[in-house]
C-alpha cells in the first residue's frame, strides 16, 4: 500500500517539478519580450497569450504536487492543536464532503470544456489570429484528474493515521524555511546557539 502512495507522490512531484521550469521560461520570455519591444521595437502579439498559458499551466499542474507536500493553506488555529487521530478523522470526512465532489466536478466539466475547444480548434481571442488555446484548456481535466488521484492517496493516508495514531511520512522536498540550510548560509552552528545560551545564563546570574 505504502508503495502505491509513494508512487503517486512521485508522479505528482515529478509533474510539479517539471512544470515549475516553465516559470524560468516565463521569466526569460518576458525579459526577452520587453527587450524586443523597447529596444528592437519588435513586439510580438502572441506574447500575452503565451505568458498566460505558461502561468496557468504551472499553477494548475503544481496543484497535486502541493497537495502531496501538504502545502495548501489550512486554517490551523484549532487544527494544529488536535491530536493526529482527530486531524485524520476530520480530514477524512471533509475529503469526501468537499474535495472529491468539488475536484471531480471540475475535472469532469473541464473534460467537456476542453473537448468543445478541441472540436472547433479554438484560438485565443485576445488578439486577432491568436495562438491555439485548446491545449491550454486541456490542462484543466489533466490537473483536476491528477489532483483527484493524489486526493485518494491523501484519504488513504488519513485511514493509516486513524489506525496507527501517527501521520505516515511524506517524501522529502525543498522547504520554504529550511532551518539547517539557512544556518549554513549565514555560518551559524548549533554550537553557537548553545554558547549564546550559556552566555545569557551566566549574565543573568551575575545581575541577580
Amino acid at each position: 500500500m505504502q508503495k502505491i502512495f509513494l508512487f503517486v507522490d512521485k508522479v505528482s512531484t515529478w509533474l510539479g517539478h517539471t512544470f515549475s521550469w516553465l516559470m524560468l521560461v516565463l521569466t526569460l520570455m518576458i525579459t526577452w519580450e520587453v527587450f524586443s519591444r523597447y529596444v528592437l521595437s519588435n513586439p510580438h502579439p502572441w506574447a500575452f497569450d503565451v505568458m498566460m498559458m505558461l502561468y496557468g499551466t504551472v499553477f494548475m499542474m503544481a496543484g497535486a504536487y502541493t497537495l502531496s507536500q501538504n502545502g495548501h493553506v489550512r486554517g490551523d488555529v484549532l487544527y494544529g492543536f488536535f491530536p493526529p487521530r482527530l486531524q485524520a478523522g476530520l480530514d477524512l470526512v471533509l475529503y469526501f464532503v468537499f474535495f472529491i465532489p468539488g475536484v471531480f466536478a471540475m475535472a469532469w466539466a473541464g473534460y467537456f470544456y476542453a473537448g468543445e475547444s478541441w472540436a472547433i480548434k479554438e484560438i485565443s481571442n485576445i488578439t486577432s489570429d491568436g495562438p491555439p488555446i485548446y491545449p491550454f484548456k486541456t490542462v484543466i481535466p489533466i490537473a483536476g484528474g491528477m489532483l483527484l488521484i493524489q486526493g485518494f492517496v491523501e484519504i488513504m493516508r488519513c485511514v493509516v493515521c486513524l489506525n496507527e495514531g501517527a501521520w505516515p511520512s511524506r517524501k522529502e522536498d525543498v522547504e520554504e524555511v529550511d532551518v539547517d540550510k539557512l544556518k549554513e548560509m549565514v555560518h551559524v552552528s548549533d554550537e553557537d546557539i548553545s554558547k549564546l545560551e550559556a552566555y545569557i545564563v551566566t549574565k543573568e546570574s551575575e545581575t541577580k
Binding site: S20, I30, Y55, G63, V77, F98
Partner: protein, 642 residues
C-alpha cells in the same frame, strides 16, 4: 491537551448552533438566507483545518447547485459544472495574478543570493552612533530584505540567527530584540512589491499599480515608526538597548588605508589625492588608490549625474502638449520636434528613478525634490510657436535642491574617513544592489514604464543576476527556487479558484444583497463603517490567514464602499496595514514560532510575544494615522495618475 480540543470543538459547535438559531424556519428561508448560511458554515469549515481552497470549492459547488435549482431544476447540474469550469479558467487566464509567481520567484532567488549577513553587518556599523543601533539596523535590514523577498519565515529565521545573538550579547533586552526581528520581518507583506497587494488588487478589481504607489509611503512610515520607537526606548531606558562598546564598532582597515591615514590624516579624499600625487613613496600601488578614490567619489558622481539629468528635464522645451495640439491641425513641425525632444515624456520618471537608488542623504533629497519639480512645468500648455528648442530657466526649487545637495555632499566628504569608506564599500555590495533592485522594479511599475507582470519578470531576472553576481547561481539554487515558487503559486492560485467559485455561488444566492440591505439599514456614518470593518478584519486576522481574509471577505466589503464614499484603493491600503497586525498577534503569529525555532532555549515564546506587543500597538497607531491623514497613502497615486 484534551481541554484545548474540547474548547476548540465547543466553539465550533456554538457557532454552528447560533447560525441555525438565527436562521428563519426552513419554510421561510430565501436564497439570501442560504447565502448567509453558507458564509457562516465556511468559517466553521475553514477552522476545521481542511485545505481552504477545496473547502471553498466544494461548498461553492453545493450552494451554486442550490441556487441554480431554485431557478431551473433541470439545468442545475449543467449550469453548476459550467460555472465551475469557467471560474477555473478565468483564474488561469487572470492577468493580475500572473505576477504572483514571478514576484515569488524573485523573492526566493534574492533570499538565496545570501546578502543578508553583509547587509546586517554593514548597516549596524553604519548606524553605530544611533541609539539602539543594533535594533534599528535589524528593522532596516528586515525592511529591505523582506521587501525584496517577501518571505516572512525565511527573513525572521535568518535574522534570528544573525541579529538575535548580536543583540543579546550586546546586552539588549530579549523582548526588544525579539520584537524588532518579528515586526521587521513582517514588513515585506506591506511594502511593495508585495504579493498581498496583488491578491487584494485581483479580488477587489483595483489597479495593482495604484496599490503599489499607495502602499509605498505607509510602508515606509511603519518602518520609520518602528525605528523611532526603538530610538526612544534606547534613549529612555539605556538598559534595554545599551550603546555598542568601542571594540564592536571597530572597522578593520586594509594596509594601504593605515599607511595613508597615518601620514595624511583620516580624511579619505585628501589622503588619496595626496597619495596619488606621489608625496609619499609607499608600497601602495597607484591603481589601488585610484580605484578607492573612484569609489569614494561615487556619491558625488551620482549626485552630479542626477542633477544634470534633472536640469535637462526641467529646462527641456515643453513639447509633449504642443504635439497634441498640433496633431489636430497640421503636422508640419512634428518631425522636427520629435527629433530633439524624443525624451521629454520619460525624463521626469527616469530622473527620479536614477536618483532614488542612491540612498545617501543628498541624492534622496534630490529625488524627493526632482519628482514635483520635474512635473511642475508640464501642465502649462505653451503656445505651439514657443516649442521650438529654447531651453527654459530652471525653477527656483531646482537651485535650492542643488545648493542643499552640494552642502550635504561637502559635509559628507568633510567627515569621510577611511573607516567610513570601508563601511561605504560594504553598503555598496549589500545595501545598494537590493535597494536598486526594489526601486527599479517599483519605479518601472509606478511610473508606467512596464506592467507589473513585466516588472516582476525583470525583477526575477534581476534576482538571477544578483545571485550570479554573488557567486550563488547554480542549478540547485535555481531548481529549489523554482520548486518553491511552484508550490507557493499553486497554493495562492488554487485558493483563488476555490474562492472564485465560492463567491460566484454567494452572489447567485443573493447573500450579498441581504448583507448590503442589513448594513444600509444600520444607517452608519462613514467613520462608524470604517471602524467596524477594520475591527472585523482585525479580529478575523486571529483565526484566519491573510489570503483567506482577502479572498473570502473582501468581496463582501467592497460592494459596500461606494455607498459610504470610500475609495477601494484607500480601503485596500488600510486592509493591508491592518493585516500586518495579524502577523504579530499572539498566540497564532507565525513569526514568533520561526524566531523561537532558532533562538536559544532561554528565550521563551512568552518573551517573544511580549516583545511583539508594542510593535503591534505601533501598527494600530499607523492604521489610525493613515485613516486620519489619507494623504500618506493617496498622495503618490493622486500625483501620478490624475
Amino acid at each position: 491537551m484534551k481541554k484545548e480540543i474540547w474548547f476548540g470543538l465547543s466553539i465550533l459547535a456554538a457557532v454552528v448552533i447560533s447560525i441555525f438559531v438565527f436562521m428563519p424556519a426552513p419554510s421561510q428561508m430565501t436564497n439570501g438566507h442560504l447565502g448567509l448560511l453558507m458564509l457562516g458554515l465556511v468559517v466553521v469549515a475553514i477552522m476545521m483545518g481542511f485545505p481552504t481552497a477545496f473547502t471553498l470549492m466544494g461548498m461553492g459547488m453545493m450552494f451554486a447547485w442550490f441556487a441554480f435549482r431554485s431557478r431551473a431544476p433541470d439545468l442545475a447540474v449543467q449550469q453548476t459544472l459550467d460555472l465551475m469550469v469557467q471560474r477555473t479558467f478565468s483564474v488561469m487566464s487572470n492577468d493580475v495574478l500572473i505576477s504572483i509567481p514571478l514576484f515569488v520567484f524573485m523573492g526566493y532567488l534574492v533570499e538565496r543570493a545570501n546578502l543578508i549577513e553583509k547587509l546586517f553587518k554593514s548597516l549596524h556599523l553604519a548606524m553605530a552612533r544611533v541609539p539602539g543601533s543594533l535594533a534599528v539596523a535589524t528593522v532596516v535590514t528586515c525592511a529591505i530584505f523582506a521587501t525584496a523577498t517577501g518571505i516572512v519565515g525565511a527573513v525572521v529565521t535568518l535574522m534570528g540567527l544573525l541579529a538575535l545573538p548580536a543583540m543579546l550579547r550586546a546586552g539588549y533586552s530579549t523582548q526588544l530584540a525579539a520584537g524588532a526581528i518579528t515586526a521587521g520581518g513582517c514588513l515585506g507583506i506591506l511594502i511593495p512589491p508585495s504579493v498581498m497587494l496583488i491578491v487584494y488588487g485581483a479580488t477587489a478589481g483595483v489597479s495593482v499599480v495604484k496599490l503599489y504607489a499607495g502602499a509605498f509611503f505607509p510602508g515606509i512610515m511603519l518602518a520609520t515608526l518602528y525605528v523611532a520607537y526603538i530610538i526612544v526606548i534606547a534613549k529612555l531606558k539605556p538598559k534595554m538597548a545599551p550603546p555598542l562598546s568601542a571594540e564592536d564598532r571597530v572597522v578593520p582597515l586594509p594596509a594601504y588605508a593605515k599607511t595613508i591615514s597615518n601620514s595624511f590624516g583620516a580624511n579619505v579624499v585628501r589622503g588619496l589625492i595626496a597619495g596619488l600625487n606621489g608625496k609619499l613613496k609607499l608600497e601602495v600601488p597607484a591603481r589601488t588608490l585610484a580605484l578607492q578614490l573612484f569609489i569614494a567619489l561615487l556619491p558625488a558622481l551620482v549626485f552630479t549625474a542626477a542633477i544634470g539629468l534633472t536640469y535637462r528635464a526641467v529646462t527641456a522645451p515643453i513639447a509633449v502638449e504642443a504635439n497634441e495640439v498640433q496633431e489636430m491641425g497640421s503636422g508640419f513641425a512634428a518631425d522636427e520636434e520629435e527629433e530633439n525632444l524624443s525624451g521629454p515624456a520619460a525624463p521626469p520618471a527616469e530622473v527620479a528613478d536614477a536618483a532614488k537608488p542612491d540612498a545617501s542623504a543628498p541624492a534622496t533629497a534630490a529625488a524627493a525634490a526632482a519628482a514635483p519639480v520635474a512635473a511642475a512645468p508640464a501642465p502649462a500648455t505653451p503656445p505651439p510657436a514657443q516649442a521650438s528648442g529654447e531651453r527654459l530657466n530652471a525653477p527656483t526649487g531646482f537651485w535650492v535642491t542643488l545648493a542643499m545637495g552640494v552642502a550635504a555632499l561637502a559635509a559628507f566628504y568633510a567627515f569621510f574617513t577611511f573607516a567610513r569608506l570601508e563601511i561605504f564599500k560594504m553598503l555598496l555590495s549589500s545595501f545598494f544592489p537590493l535597494a536598486m533592485l526594489i526601486l527599479a522594479v517599483l519605479g518601472t511599475i509606478v511610473f508606467g514604464l512596464a506592467t507589473p507582470t513585466e516588472a516582476a519578470a525583470m525583477g526575477s531576472m534581476g534576482g538571477l543576476l544578483l545571485a550570479a553576481a554573488y557567486r550563488r547561481l547554480n542549478v540547485s539554487v535555481v531548481r529549489e527556487s523554482l520548486y518553491l515558487t511552484a508550490k507557493t503559486s499553486a497554493m495562492v492560485c488554487w485558493l483563488f479558484v476555490g474562492s472564485s467559485i465560492f463567491s460566484a455561488a454567494f452572489a447567485l444566492l443573493g447573500g450579498q444583497e441581504l448583507i448590503n440591505q442589513w448594513v444600509l439599514s444600520l444607517d452608519m456614518t462613514t467613520i462608524q463603517f470604517m471602524v467596524l470593518s477594520q475591527v472585523i478584519i482585525f479580529l478575523l486576522g486571529w483565526p484566519l490567514e491573510w489570503t483567506e481574509i482577502i479572498v473570502i471577505f473582501m468581496p463582501i466589503f467592497i460592494p459596500l464602499l461606494p455607498h459610504f464614499g470610500v475609495d477601494p484603493l484607500f480601503f485596500g491600503l488600510l486592509v493591508a496595514l491592518n493585516l500586518q497586525t495579524a502577523f504579530l498577534s499572539p498566540p497564532v503569529a507565525m513569526a514568533a514560532f520561526y524566531l523561537k525555532g532558532v533562538s536559544p532555549p532561554h528565550v521563551t515564546l512568552n518573551q517573544i510575544f511580549l516583545g511583539m506587543l508594542p510593535f503591534m500597538a505601533i501598527q494600530v497607531v499607523a492604521l489610525v494615522l493613515l485613516y486620519v491623514f489619507p494623504a500618506i497613502g493617496m498622495w503618490l497615486p493622486n500625483v501620478l495618475y490624475k
